[in-house]
């Protein structure tokens, strides 16, 4: 039986190989080639409004566009389907001037009523659609819905959308918000064809075992946007196939077909690239980068850092960490430079504050803490927690994140450097899910713990705002002045003022030390050298529009 299965497997593999070769050489009707790309998994659904993961966004980003986008490879907000916009003085009314002559892939015209149809669709979601597993990003940015049916939802930010003429849409908000515009770059808020969504039942769905599942066919076989690629087919576990959109309004794609395959492990993806089964693959393991670079036919494409790894310093009733001197001793006692230089395979940059340098609001004037065991001990001895200061330190197991490729390794280095700096560390660990993350969020993961954050959109609020806009159990950090600055910054609509506020907040944060950031890390796409102009976007995506296969 086993042998038969093996034989069958071989036949299947050979067949796939032939198929791929055919695909690779195929598209003979045109001179433009096919790009085969490997991701880490299948998309969840192809309706970006209903997902929150990178595997889904990678596909939907090629098919659909938002009103604004991040210039590929950067975190700067640029016009896309909206050519310009303005906010009223009170920050509650936003006017968007739309690009003319754009059509959805199904022929529906893109205009102000299509924009309002999308905004109203999000706002009017009910029932199963209000589950966090369906509309995570909508809830993160807009709070609640027109009618909140799930307990714990906050009042909605959105009030109304009005079509003023064909190419002007006016969005009214209930509160002033500085994050409204930058958050429109999130793929979940891409513009989708109202006709196709209606025709294929995009707004039908139910909860199965607590998880949202669409019941219409839209999210599986009819995603329709205005992007440079149009959807062709999706075979679960095999591939998603997209084709070039010939009447795209902007720079048309240079490839005819884009095939995105799910390959689970980094090692298998590397092998697929080495065998020529794929032209490029995402999320190369940092330790494989040297292997890829050593191959004369391959290269790596670097995704600039848009994340932060940090050590939470948890404060609370009776905690030694309530004393700023102890927190400073922690900052001086972490050998961050060695960890970043030695453990990130050249992919890490030392973090001095909680936001990556590419974001507005990053300040060069924050207080910096060099590794200095002598100073740590002196600080401890002048504090309430004399040497050896006993602390509990948590780290996660069975996980690897771009900002933390090997948590146990980081932990052990920090443990040793803290012990050299006058601390007595008690180690604790738990599996990343379901235990560790929950413990960190609840503030029950010791005095210190290892954690980090990957950004979703190009705005500092997505980093420091998420952590420090108000009291959180994770940090137990009480600093009304910082909370106030960050809340003001989130509501501010003037860009220059916002940046100044975030700089001020970052400087104060590094003075009062609710935690110690230590690394921003890049991630890598492994690719054949003949693949050109493939762009790794900092937020975790891949930009295929300009890619060529030579």
């Amino acid at each position: 039986m086993r042998r038969i299965a093996l034989k069958f497997g071989l036949v299947a593999a050979a067949f796939t190989g032939v198929l791929l070769v055919t695909l690779g050489l195929g598209g003979s009707s045109s001179a433009r080639p096919t790009l085969i790309y490997a991701g880490a998994g299948d998309p969840t659904y192809l309706d970006p409004g209903l997902v929150s993961d990178g595997e889904s966004f990678r596909v939907s980003e090629a098919i659909m566009e938002g009103l604004v986008f991040l210039k590929p490879g950067t975190t700067t907000v640029k016009p896309r389907l909206a050519t310009k916009w303005s906010a009223s003085r009170d920050g509650k009314t936003w006017t968007f001037w739309l690009r003319r002559g754009v059509k959805f892939h199904d022929g529906t015209a893109f205009n102000s009523s299509a924009v309002c149809a999308n905004f109203n669709r999000w706002y009017n979601w009910r029932g199963a659609f209000q589950d966090a597993s369906a509309t995570y990003y909508y809830q993160a940015i807009y709070g609640g819905f027109k009618v909140n049916e799930v307990s714990g939802l906050s009042p909605p930010l959105f009030r109304s959308c009005t079509a003023r003429g064909k190419y002007k849409a006016i969005v009214k908000l209930r509160r002033k918000s500085g994050t409204f515009l930058p958050s429109l770059v999130i793929s979940s808020f891409a513009m989708q064809s109202p006709t196709a969504m209606k025709k294929y039942g995009a707004d039908q769905g139910e909860l199965r075992n607590g998880t949202f599942v669409p019941t219409g066919s839209y999210a599986f076989s009819h995603p329709t946007g205005t992007g440079p690629f149009r959807f062709k087919s999706w075979t679960v576990g095999q591939k998603v196939e997209l084709t070039r959109s010939g009447n795209y309004w902007g720079t048309k794609a240079k490839i005819d077909r884009l095939i995105i395959r799910p390959i689970g492990t980094p090692t298998a993806r590397l092998q697929a690239l080495q065998n020529g089964e794929v032209n490029a693959y995402d999320l190369a393991a940092p330790q494989d980068v040297a292997t890829i670079r050593a191959n004369s036919k391959l290269k790596t494409i670097t995704r600039s850092p848009f994340n932060v790894a940090y050590v939470t310093i948890h404060q609370g009733p009776g905690s030694v960490m309530n004393d700023l001197k102890v927190r400073q001793a922690v900052a001086h006692g972490l050998n961050r430079t060695q960890v970043v230089n030695q453990f990130y395979f050249g992919a890490g940059k030392l973090a001095q504050e909680f936001i990556p340098p590419s974001l507005p609001g990053w300040s060069s004037k924050v207080q910096k803490y060099a590794y200095n065991p002598t100073q740590s001990k002196a600080l401890l001895n002048s504090s309430a927690c004399k040497v050896p200061c006993k602390i509990d330190f948590w780290y996660p197991t069975s996980i690897s994140r771009p900002y933390m490729p090997d948590p146990a390794r980081n932990f052990q280095a920090f443990q040793a450097s803290l012990e050299a700096s006058g601390f007595s560390v008690t180690p604790h660990s738990a599996p990343w899910r379901p235990t560790y993350v929950a413990k960190v969020n609840d503030g029950t993961a010791g005095d210190l713990n290892l954690i980090g954050w990957s950004g979703d959109y190009g705005d500092p609020d997505n980093f420091v705002g998420t952590f420090f806009k108000s009291y959180s159990a994770q940090f137990g950090f009480q600093n009304p002045a910082i909370f106030k600055i960050l809340t003001r910054a989130a509501n501010e609509t003037n860009a220059a003022k916002r940046i100044a506020l975030y700089k001020q907040a970052n400087e104060m944060l590094m003075k009062y030390l609710p935690g110690v950031p230590y690394a921003h890390s890049v991630s890598f796409i492994g690719a054949e050298k003949r693949v050109k102009n493939l762009i790794a976007t900092p937020v975790g995506g891949t930009w295929f529009q300009y890619a060529t296969v030579g």
């Binding site: 292997t291 050998n335 960890v339 052990q412």
Partner: protein, 302 residues
Amino acid sequence: MSVAEAEAREVRLDAPSGLWSEAWRRLRRNPGAIVGFVLVAAFVTVAIFAPLIATHGPREQNLSLLQGSCCPGPSGSHFFGVDALGRDLFSRVVYGARFSLLIGVVSVAVGLSVGLLIGAVAGYLGGWIDSILMRLMDIMLSIPGLLLAIGIVAALGPGLTQIMIAVGATQVPIFARLLRGSILATREADYVLAARAVGVKRRSILVSHILPNSLSPVIVQGTLALATAIIDVAGLGFLGLGPQDPSTPEWGTMLTDTTRYLQTAPFLALIPGAAIVVSVLGFNLIGDGLREALDPRFRGRA
């Protein structure tokens, strides 16, 4: 065992070449057992004299050795190379022997003592006590050993003490069943009947007549159990259920850390793996040798 055989054993026990001395004589002629003894002796020596043998501290990090990757291989100053934190792998393996020996001995001691008690009570008293105890043991045996250990660790929380208890607990039914079987055979032996006839108390019959004569299979099993205990503990350590302090030089825990670096530094997995194999092999060879030496059916053949 027939009456004649039991008599024969009794006679031999009193004879100048007793059961144990004869077993020892035969053990010495078994090359496998000799190899086992050498391996185990080396293992125990390394464990005891670890601080003298190791060239570095087992937790001493030297991050600058790594040069931004993982991990420099064997060299003159680091015989087995260094691990992902620049710690000397040779010294860690040497200190790891201490943990493995300690863990093996403690967990077998746990399993042996509890198992012996249950087995002796069940075997000697018999009746409904025997039925209940043995059905309990059957239930424990029906769960695969490692799975049972994982369950116990899940209940107790991860840690070195907890895995020693868990691995010990999985050994309990094996020892209990073995001893009970052996006691059932001895219980009806003539010398036991004789002791009973002259009015020796039940407890002293059990302790001084039945137990000593039922122990030989348990000793064999004990040696083999040491081997499985070392493997099980390493397995639990590999699954992340071992010591909470990841810098503990325990062989299984050391293996866990290396999976990410298999492509670049395979020696990180091979060396602790080889250490586990060698120590387990040593105990297994001794166990097999003992079994042959103590088995009456092999008697006189060697």
